[in-house]
Each structure stands twice: as structure tokens, then as C-alpha cells.
């Protein structure tokens, strides 16, 4: 496995793990309070929809000329990766409230209990919430699988890395029987943001006609360089005390 392929697999695995933790929280909340069978049906339907998206768009993307693909996909990946990185830096610097899976679980559980009661064996509420949760969290993963996979003509490898991440998170969730609140979610998001931005920058510049010194080896400088820049921004952009106090009283927001 080449360095670029390893980077692909690692980036997809980490991104998928982060999104899977968030989706698991929602599914656990509606499954435990409403109906496990309906919630799992929602999960299955969402996974099928996401798989169909990857299968339909994967070959179409790989059919594009390589330079056009790289500049298009590299640019999109870079914009997308900078979003992740920006939010992770803001959270690490204390300028934005961190995700709290325990709180999300409580909110989802309360909403599920408050919803109208079940009137048949199939619970539409549990199905819909689980379907929407998995589909929305999964869309980001599908985007990363498609862009990374198509660029290196390794959609199958990217999909396998995503599948492995889901298995690991689901196994951990099943063992804990609780939302995975101790997962260092923001650290994972920072890592994924660095990887997406680095690969996006590398492919985008190559597609635009630039030649990196050292070819693929340039990634060995780009990835650590982005990481150092991210840590430097976290250190230098910390909030003033009133901002920090204000943030401690705020709620969380959706991914990324």
C-alpha cells in the first residue's frame, strides 16, 4: 500500500469514525426509548441510500480526465477540509462550544419520549429519526469516500475503510450500551481536517498544472506543516476570558 493509499484509508476511517459516533448517539436514543427494530430499519435504509450514491457516482467521477478530476475534487476537498479544520481549531481554542454526545443523547431521548405514542409494531418516528441521522452524518463520509476514492481510482478501498470504521464504532457502542462520550471527537476532527486539506491542496495544485518537489513525497511535508499551522492558530487565537465564560454556557451544534 502506497503512502497516498494509506493516507486515503486513514482519512476516510477517521472521518467515518467521527460521523459514526454522532449517528450512533441518535440511533441509541431512539432505539432505547422507542423501537430497536424500527430504528435499525431506518439505519439500514440510510446505509443503502448512501451505498447507492457511492456506487452511482463513483464510476462517473473516475471517468473524468485526471487533471480535471484532480483540480475539481482537490478544490472541493480543500474547501470541505478547511471547514472541518476551522471548526476544530475554534473548538480547541475555546472559541466555540464542543460537541457533547451525552447532552445530545439526553435531548434526543427526551424528544423521542415526548413524541406521539406508537400505534403499531412499526414505529415511524424511530425509523425517520434514525434514517435522517445516519443519512445526514453519512453524506459527509460518502463525499469523502467519493472524492478520495475517485482521485486515486480506489473507491473500493475508501468504502472498505469507511465500513471498518462503522464496525469499530458500532462494536464499541454495543459494548458500552451508551453514547461514546469519551471519544476525543474534536481531536479526530482536527486530524481529519488536516488530512482533507492537505490532500485537497496537493491534488488541486497538481490538477492545476503545478509539480510538487519530490512528487507524492511532498505530502510528508504538507501534512505535518498543516498540523503545525493548526496548533499555532489554536495557541494564538485563544479567546478572551469573557468569551470563554460565555461559551461555557452555550449548547452544541451539528457536525462537522
Amino acid at each position: 500500500m502506497s503512502g497516498a493509499e494509506l493516507g486515503l484509508a486513514l482519512s476516510v476511517f477517521l472521518a467515518c469514525a467521527v460521523e459514526a459516533v454522532e449517528a450512533l448517539t441518535i440511533v441509541l436514543a431512539v432505539g432505547s426509548t422507542r423501537s430497536w427494530s424500527s430504528a435499525m430499519s431506518g439505519v439500514g435504509a440510510a446505509v443503502l441510500a448512501l451505498a447507492a450514491l457511492v456506487v452511482a457516482l463513483g464510476p462517473a467521477l473516475t471517468a473524468l480526465p485526471i487533471d480535471l478530476l484532480r483540480v475539481l475534487v482537490g478544490g472541493l476537498l480543500l474547501i470541505f477540509g478547511l471547514q472541518w479544520l476551522r471548526k476544530a481549531i475554534l473548538r480547541s481554542a475555546g472559541l466555540k462550544a464542543k460537541h457533547d454526545e451525552t447532552r445530545t443523547f439526553m435531548e434526543e431521548t427526551q424528544a423521542a419520549r415526548a413524541a406521539a405514542g406508537k400505534d403499531s409494531s412499526f414505529d415511524g418516528y424511530a425509523f425517520t429519526i434514525a434514517f435522517k441521522g445516519v443519512l445526514l452524518e453519512g453524506l459527509e463520509v460518502a463525499f469523502i469516500v467519493l472524492t478520495f476514492g475517485a482521485n486515486q481510482h480506489r473507491v473500493a478501498l475508501a468504502a472498505a475503510a469507511a465500513g471498518l470504521a462503522v464496525l469499530v464504532v458500532v462494536a464499541a457502542g454495543a459494548a458500552a450500551r451508551a453514547p461514546l462520550a469519551r471519544v476525543p471527537e474534536n481531536t479526530l476532527k482536527l486530524t481529519v481536517g488536516v488530512m482533507l486539506s492537505s490532500f485537497g491542496m496537493f491534488w488541486g495544485a497538481e490538477g492545476a498544472g503545478a509539480s510538487w518537489p519530490g512528487g507524492d513525497g511532498a505530502l510528508l511535508a504538507i501534512v505535518p506543516g498543516m498540523l503545525v499551522a493548526a496548533f499555532a492558530l489554536i495557541r494564538t487565537q485563544g479567546p478572551t476570558r469573557p468569551q470563554r465564560v460565555k461559551l461555557q454556557t452555550t449548547s452544541t451544534d451539528p457536525a462537522p
Binding site: L90, E140, A210
Partner: protein, 80 residues
């Protein structure tokens, strides 16, 4: 006479485009524009035969720092 079905279809297309924009670009459109401009500059510089690999790292670091600085000056009242 206007076709109400056509209006509804147009609204759905607009909603879809808005959702796609939010999904990829998010809440900082300036960074997205900056990335597009940096890629265009890279293509122009490379086309005239000058090494152009350095443009993207410089542009990305600058765009990220500016984006963080903007958010630090005006932090959102809630998480988002």
C-alpha cells in the same frame, strides 16, 4: 398564466442548490472563493512555465488564519 408546478419545481431546485452550497462551502464563503482564486492563479503561473507549487500552501495558510481571526473577533453566540 404561470404554472404552479413549475414554481414548486423551481423552489425545490433552489432548496437543493442551497443545501449543496451549505454542505460544501459552509459558513465561510470567503475561504471557498479564496481557494478557487488560488487554484486559478496556480494554473496561470504553471501555464507560463514558472514553478507554481508554492502558491497553494501560502494561500491555504493565509485563508485559514484570516478565517479563524474573523471568527475570533466575532464568536458565534451559540455553538454554530
Amino acid at each position: 398564466m404561470t404554472d404552479p408546478g413549475a414554481h414548486e419545481r423551481m423552489t425545490r431546485v433552489q432548496e437543493l442548490l442551497h443545501a449543496a452550497w451549505e454542505f460544501v462551502v459552509g459558513d465561510d464563503w470567503r475561504t471557498a472563493i479564496g481557494v478557487a482564486l488560488a487554484l486559478a492563479l496556480t494554473a496561470i503561473v504553471a501555464a507560463v512555465g514558472i514553478p507554481a507549487w508554492w502558491i497553494m500552501p501560502l494561500a491555504v495558510l493565509g485563508l485559514l488564519a484570516r478565517s479563524i481571526r474573523r471568527a475570533a473577533k466575532d464568536p458565534p453566540p451559540r455553538g454554530g
